[in-house]
């Protein structure tokens, strides 16, 4: 219950800070001007390598959000009945739903091919979430910790890669802001997982390594297919 209160306080604090400066993702979730080039067009002056890098980045991000959604869905299916844990998972899941909604719009905007492994990401995500949920609350939190660690680092790497990518096109600064916002959200989930005893999970080191390695393999696959 304390963790839920902490999460809600942190989110409320962030919302207060951001109420003066709206979240970058609001351009997609609450669009004021859908025909604004920042949300409706993709740069056409990218080199072939840059276009491939952008495609791969958004494909991986979208697949990652699909998997994250289904991980929380699986965890909620098992642990949802526990009041405190259920509320915690639901709150993080709601944020991932928003992430996925924005990623879907970015995929369409930048004309990116989604991963062929879309359905596999759903099945694997749900399976991982349900399995760690069955192992217990701490194991579910360890799963969240491991996944959000990889995703947070991955978003960071992408920001570095996008540093010099078409800075004059209006969509790119917005894309970077969105990725920055999502990275911060994922790191917030990571913190929440740690606060909620993720490191007390049985065989925490092994669980984290296996899940982390699985995420890295998924990233490499989604980069290509």
């Amino acid at each position: 219950m304390l963790a839920v209160l902490l999460l809600r306080s942190a989110s409320a604090f962030r919302r207060t800070i951001h109420s003066a400066a709206p979240l970058a993702s609001a351009a997609y979730t609450h669009p004021i001007s859908p025909s604004d080039p920042a949300v409706s067009s993709t740069p056409d002056g990218l080199t072939v390598e840059q276009r491939r890098a952008l495609d791969a980045a958004l494909r991986i991000d979208q697949a990652g959000e699909v998997a994250a959604n289904y991980i929380y869905k699986g965890q909620f299916a098992v642990l949802g009945r526990e009041r405190a844990t259920g509320a915690l998972i639901q709150e993080m899941w709601d944020q991932e739903k928003k992430h996925l909604d924005v990623m879907n719009k970015l995929q369409v905007q930048h004309r990116v091919r989604p991963t062929v492994l879309w359905d596999a990401a759903k099945v694997a995500g749900f399976g991982l979430g349900a399995l760690t949920g069955l192992m217990g609350r701490e194991a579910a939190m360890a799963c969240t910790e491991a996944v959000e660690t990889v995703i947070g680092e991955h978003y960071d790497d992408q920001l570095k890669e996008m540093e010099d990518m078409a800075p004059s096109h209006p969509s790119m600064p917005l894309l970077k802001d969105v990725i920055r916002e999502f990275r911060d959200d994922e790191l917030e989930h990571l913190s929440i997982a740690v606060i909620n005893d993720s490191q007390k999970a049985p065989a925490h080191a092994l669980l984290s390594s296996v899940i982390g390695a699985g995420c890295m393999v998924a990233i490499e696959l989604c980069k290509r297919i």
Binding site: Q62, N104, V108, P114, W118, D119
Partner: protein, 230 residues
Amino acid sequence: MMEGSSPTSQHQMHLSRRKRLEAIQLTIQLSFPLIKEYGFSRETLARSVLTLPEPPSAPLSDTAVNALFGEGDSARRTLINAWLDEGRAQMRLTPAESISEVLAGRLRYNEPVLSLLPEAFALLASPRSGLPPLDARPALRHATTIADDACHIVGDASVGHSWYTRRASIATVYVAAELHQMSSPETALQFLGSLLRSTTTLESAVAETSLFAEYVAKSWKGIIKSSGMV
């Protein structure tokens, strides 16, 4: 940096490469209106310079065409691919609200050079050397890029496997309509319309089947839960 080359010679090489690319682009653009008369041929490329505001006294020589586009059929392949790219560019510029309008527009783009297309596509499908005897990749690229562009033009927002199924069905419809157009141009647009209607019916049937399967799965979930097995 190449061994033994100075920054000046590097710069000169870059400039000459850029000039060559500009010359290729210009020659191709000037060639498009001539395709109907001279075909997807080296002659078309050679004669393109005669349409310049201040034309030279003679078309480009064979040596010049080789220098810009390569020897043999390379020049023809480049011209055909550029013409196909121009078709897609015109698709994007022509306002359309439905897939039907977009694809109809693309089929109309074929009309002036329809009789030349079978040979053009056959050339693209023939390998540059050795086996296999047929290269299906250019045809696949042609169909899939048109399908992807068409989806983008009408604002299709499919994600996941729907992205693939939508484009696969549109690509299939377009290829069938284009093949029909080559043998029966007068009925091509009606054929396109009927194919698209069938595809829509098929997509609805698949969606309804998926929905039915979902209901069945939920029912079983309920039955298992109420039996106390879980």
